[in-house]
Amino acid sequence: MNKFTNDIVIGLEIHVELNTQTKLFCGCPTQGSEEPNTRTCVTCLGMPGSKPVLNKKAVEHAIKLCLALNCKMSKELIFSRKSYFYPDMSKNYQVTQYEMPLGQKGKLKLRGEEVGITRVHMEEDPASLVHPAGMQRSPYVLVDYNRSGNPLVEIVTEPELKSAGQAREFMKQLITTLGYLKIFDVNEGIIKADANVSIKESGYVRQEVKNITGFKEIERALNYEIERQKKEVSEGKKLEQETRSWDSEKGITFLLRKKETEEDYGYIMDTDLVKTDITEDMLNKINEVMPELVHDKIEKFISKHKLKKKDAEVIAAEIELAELYEAVAKEINPILAAKWLRRELVRVLNYNKKELYEMEADEKHIIALLSLVESKKITDNVAQKLLEKLIEKPFDVKEYVIKENLGAVSDSKELEKYCKEAIDENPKAVEDYKAGEEKSFNFLVGQVMRKTKGKATPKEVNEIMKKIIG
């Protein structure tokens, strides 16, 4: 009856908000005042007599995404009206694309395999509904049209994803791509998914789960939904086609409606908008400004900078990190730079609950710091502490090292002096070590490190200490 063979079949419909300055069909700003209904005009409010005018930047953004996903491009851009009545719709129809989506038959490369993209199309966002006392209990609903008319792209995948984890990976990879293209605000922008999911045990009865926001949620929602379906089937229930919604607070999906037939949106052309030709010339121009994408970067990091695959993948996953790395690797040994960015920088940022884009320090600061590490002028230990300080607030690293006398102690005579001091002060530890207790040796090294305030390298201290104690 159907072609599926996998245990779990998942297809996604993902809505991405493009980061243009203005809305898709009017000049209203997409960002700014958060006060409800302040970023609106007659067009995005759907007032009688208003007309749409297409935002060319949004088209460019959408084309970039289609190219990055290897889509077959439509020769022309045509918009349709999708009709349904709902209070968040300013015109009770949504301007979207139907017959001829901008891009078709693309693919996105994941770690293991490629996932087919059925279509990519453009559309406008509806307004947002606000339920003052929660969706179930609120006695009334407020409508905020600030979002009405924001440009969206919808990406529809083939039903080829096999697990919740893979769906998460897909979303993550898509977000990475959007970040590389700089057409989506990775940190503040909205990305939402509706997932179609079915399992072998039920005979692949499709359940649609709506309203899943972000890549972490998709794994949770799908895991829940798959378990739910398995449980229902194991209890002998027969699944019917349903549309469900994800409640992220409760961590459950709940029934919205039974799907006896497909909804009928009565699509017609929106003849208020003229056809836009997608010419070869236009595509060539966009191709010229297409940035390197994540897989190109990973390849490059491996072949040019000789990074390990895993390091290359982690650094390339975020465009900001990748760009910072490339800038740093111009001045610093690429392997050293990779180690410091991937491990230390990410650790310090996580610890401070900061995102890379929120960091004030820039590549110059990082280069200054790592050049001191590279030339062994400071120890890793000191460098870590300086990095922590840099994330809080940038400063001139070289000056600070001189001023605070943080330069590495590598004069072996000086180190010998510290070692002897440590031995004299801790005769018990020396005895214990000689009696075979390794820990005591480490204790003595630690004492030296403390005396040098971390400015010595443990390796050197080790060697000197060994020489003295024997």
């Binding site: 009709s83 009545f85 009565g266």
Partner: protein, 470 residues
């Protein structure tokens, strides 16, 4: 009109006093004939007062419509003046902006005197599907024709220089112009911006002038034509100096549409139109009979499928959410929307919404909506073929003399729709066409239809000039 403009400029006529008189005359006429849904007294006087100041400062040199009274079909938005498109559902609605045609007319010194009555949203051929039914200026028991009935009526009845802004989707300028015995020109689709026009069918709607003289029609057309950044379908082609057109038809080739005469056409209409053709021939035009079966045979079906499909989406926005009629709010939004729409649309609107919704539903869409789009292309091709050979095509405008209200009641919806049989063709093809009053039969006006090639309004005006003194 030019004489009048000079008198205004020379202060022989005081513009404010004159406007007062006009408003009084309109009120008087309106009591008997229902041409205005609203007379914009305040706005008109404010505009007159402002003009007076400019005249005193000698600031009005090249204004083409200085002090000329212009009325607007109700569907054309005028800022701050109740605009209902003839529908109860928009009672009390005051637009937040001027339509581009209004803005341009006012910039050229026009004074907006009111909103003229029409069939609700343009749905009709007799201007009876509304809350304010205009009566024929030549016989009050008869219809003005529709849908721009009030516009044509006041144009015929006014004793002061006045031009009307009408709107045609499937014949709504030419038909009432014919019934009222005035010139009514529907321009090429896209020649005049639709910004601020409440939509009926977006691919069909055209704003155009209705006037007593070719000079007036030309002056208003010249004023309102041109590209508009706010309206994507408005054309960028240069605007011709329509007002400089001379009466010279020598050598022009005219095709007489054979299928539009004879069967189904009232004898009196047939005879009078042929007299008009004779007149053109006498003036030196070359006249030949041609066959143009396709638009007559398939025009109505094609027009009603496309027009109602588009209209049914355009009217979705009228649901009592933010403006216009409202009802008690109980139950869900769905029930509320239904109640607002059930209680405030006329039967004809409901009929067309249902027709249009049906034609675009999946399962029927290909057979009706999509097929109609294809036939439309064929119809355009057929016209284009003729324009390789002819400068203009001729037929009667409407097959009958102005219809009595008592007869209209007896007509079936299909018989109503038949009134537009000559007119839907050029409207579907976006071709400019004009009603020319060619004579009277039993004191009732007869209209002849001139159809021109795209953007050749000049030829229609040239031919129409021959009838200027009728």
């Amino acid at each position: 009109m030019n004489e009048y403009i000079n008198k205004i400029k020379n202060k022989e006529i005081d513009i404010v006093e004159h406007t007062h008189k006009v408003i009084e005359e309109c009120k008087k006429i309106n009591k008997e004939y229902n041409y205005f849904n609203i007379i914009s007294e305040k706005l008109a006087l404010a505009q007159a007062t402002a003009l007076k100041k400019d005249i005193e400062k000698n600031n009005v040199k090249n204004k083409k419509l200085l002090g000329v009274m212009v009325s607007a079909k109700d569907a054309i938005c005028v800022k701050g003046v109740e605009s209902t498109a003839g529908s109860k559902i928009l009672k009390g609605y005051k637009p937040l902006f001027d339509a581009t045609a209004i803005k341009k007319a006012v910039e050229q010194g026009a004074i907006i005197i009111g909103k003229t009555s029409q069939d609700e949203f343009g749905f009709g051929s007799f201007a009876v599907n509304t809350y304010n039914i205009p009566k024929n200026p030549h016989d009050k028991t008869r219809s003005c024709g529709g849908s721009s009935g009030g516009a044509a009526g006041i144009t015929a009845k006014a004793h002061f220089p006045h031009i009307a802004l009408g709107e045609s989707t499937g014949g709504s300028i030419a038909a009432p112009a014919s019934f009222c015995g005035v010139f009514g020109l529907t321009p090429t689709y896209g020649r005049v911006s639709r910004y601020g026009l409440m939509d009926f069918g977006n691919s069909l709607d055209k704003i155009g002038p209705i006037g007593k003289t070719i000079g007036e029609v030309s002056a208003l057309l010249e004023t309102i034509s041109g590209h508009d950044d706010k309206e994507s379908t408005s054309l960028n082609n240069p605007i011709e100096k329509y007002s400089n057109i001379k009466a010279d038809v020598k050598g022009m080739k005219i095709g007489i549409i054979k299928e539009a005469f004879g069967n189904g056409v009232e004898k009196a209409v047939d005879k009078t139109v042929w007299e008009g053709i004779k007149k053109l021939e006498d003036a030196g035009a070359k006249v030949e009979e041609i066959s143009l079966a396709m638009p007559i045979e398939y025009g109505l079906a094609t027009y009603y499928l496309i027009g109602t499909s588009e209209a049914s989406t355009n009217l979705a926005k009228y649901c009592g959410m933010r403006y216009g009629a409202s009802e008690d709010m109980k139950d869900s939004f769905n029930e509320y929307f239904t109640k607002v729409r059930s209680n405030n649309f006329t039967e004809e609107s409901k009929r067309r919404i249902m027709l249009g919704t049906f034609a675009r539903m999946s399962g029927y869409r290909d057979a009706y909506y999509i097929k109609a789009l294809k036939v439309r292309t064929k119809i355009i091709e057929e016209y284009k073929k003729q324009f390789k050979k002819y400068d203009a095509l001729v037929s009667p405008t409407v097959p009958v003399l102005p219809t009595k209200f008592s007869e209209i009641e007896k007509l079936s919806p299909l018989q109503h729709y038949m009134m537009d049989v000559m007119l839907v063709g050029p409207n579907l093809a976006g071709l400019p066409h004009m009603n020319v009053p060619v004579g009277f039969e039993n004191k009732l006006p007869v209209g002849m239809l001139l159809i021109g090639n795209h953007l050749e309004e000049n030829k229609l005006l040239q031919l129409g000039n021959e009838f200027e003194n009728e």
